[in-house]
């Protein structure tokens, strides 16, 4: 289980504090990266994989976020689909993650470091089973 760390942002209007967990930033980054063409998924450790096999979705797999009071940095490990230019995919992921975090949290993203650990080929992708049609209306 990852460490639970709060990020506190002081409101300039003195109407209170905005507090959210570090995992939130990681989840935003993961979802932003997943939207990029050519990204198959995040590459995590064996322990993180065990949780997924047990049916628990882990949106912070393969991602590490370092936050300060106004800035943050993201380290991610991704799996890229074969056929896409890796540098182009990485660049798009960096831009998407930066925009998503800055828009949703107001934190300035100073670094998005990406590690491509593996490539997935078309034959390895799981085949989606067709959904059974409803027999009754």
């Amino acid at each position: 289980m990852s460490e639970y760390k709060d990020i506190t942002i002081e409101s300039e209007e003195n109407s209170g504090k905005i507090v959210f967990a570090e995992d939130v930033v990681a989840t935003i980054a993961t979802l932003a990266a997943a939207e990029v063409d050519g990204v198959y998924g995040m590459s995590g450790t064996a322990f993180e994989g065990i949780g997924e096999k047990l049916g628990k979705k882990n949106y912070t797999k393969g991602i590490k976020v370092e936050v300060g009071s106004v800035e943050c940095a993201v380290d991610m490990s991704i799996i890229v689909r074969y056929g896409f230019r890796i540098q182009e995919v990485c660049r798009n992921v960096q831009v998407a993650v930066k925009n998503a975090i800055e828009t949703m949290t107001g934190l300035k993203v100073v670094q998005v470091n990406i590690a491509v650990n593996s490539i997935v080929f078309a034959k390895e992708l799981p085949v989606e089973q067709p959904k059974p049609e409803n027999r009754v209306k």
Partner: protein, 181 residues
């Protein structure tokens, strides 16, 4: 999470080595002198249980040493096993495993290559790929090797945007089946 697991693994490995050392000292006795070793050798003949104790101790110590060695090796190789590129937004690293998979996919797509093995190394500021392949008996080896170098180089250049320093290809041809008489 990774850091915590790494630290726990290191502590466990260290404790395993200490446990094994303790078992060994229990079997031999302290201090370890040549006379004590002779006594232990005699005891082993008289009481095989001592031998099992010594073997168990050596196994525990070996496991601990192997785990620690693996952790140190991985740590040292981490930054030398990827293609790094920096840009304004951060750093991108393409692991050698991914490069190896690209090369192997190229080999997999060829019908004239039956078995293959690839390795990727860092060579100065670029990379070196070693390919060992077994081919069908009737293939022209010269044409095959040139073709493999070109295809793998093109695949990596297209997908990763980087030039490969050298691609060393070693090819063995499969033996012809024995003639039926």
């Amino acid at each position: 999470m990774n850091r915590t697991v790494g630290i726990l693994s290191g502590i466990l490995a260290f404790l395993t080595i200490m446990f094994g050392t303790g078992l060994l000292l229990l079997a031999i006795g302290w201090p370890v002198t040549p006379e004590r070793l002779q006594v232990m050798a005699f005891e082993v003949r008289r009481m095989p249980a001592v031998l099992f104790l010594v073997l168990a101790a050596l196994i525990y110590m070996s496991i601990g040493v192997i785990v620690l060695y693996g952790m140190i090796w991985n740590r040292l190789n981490r930054r030398t096993s990827a293609l790094l590129e920096k840009n304004a937004l951060g750093e991108t690293a393409v692991s050698f495993t991914a490069l190896k998979e690209i090369a192997e996919q190229t080999l997999k797509n060829r019908s004239d290559v039956t078995k293959y093995k690839t390795k990727v190394y860092a060579a100065g500021s670029s990379i070196r790929i070693e390919v060992r392949a077994i081919t069908s008996p009737t293939v022209s080896l010269l044409e095959l090797t040139h073709s493999l170098q070109e295809e793998i180089g093109t695949a990596i250049r297209t997908i990763c945007g980087t030039e490969v320093g050298s691609i060393d290809v070693t090819v063995d041809q499969a033996e012809l089946p024995p003639r039926r008489t």
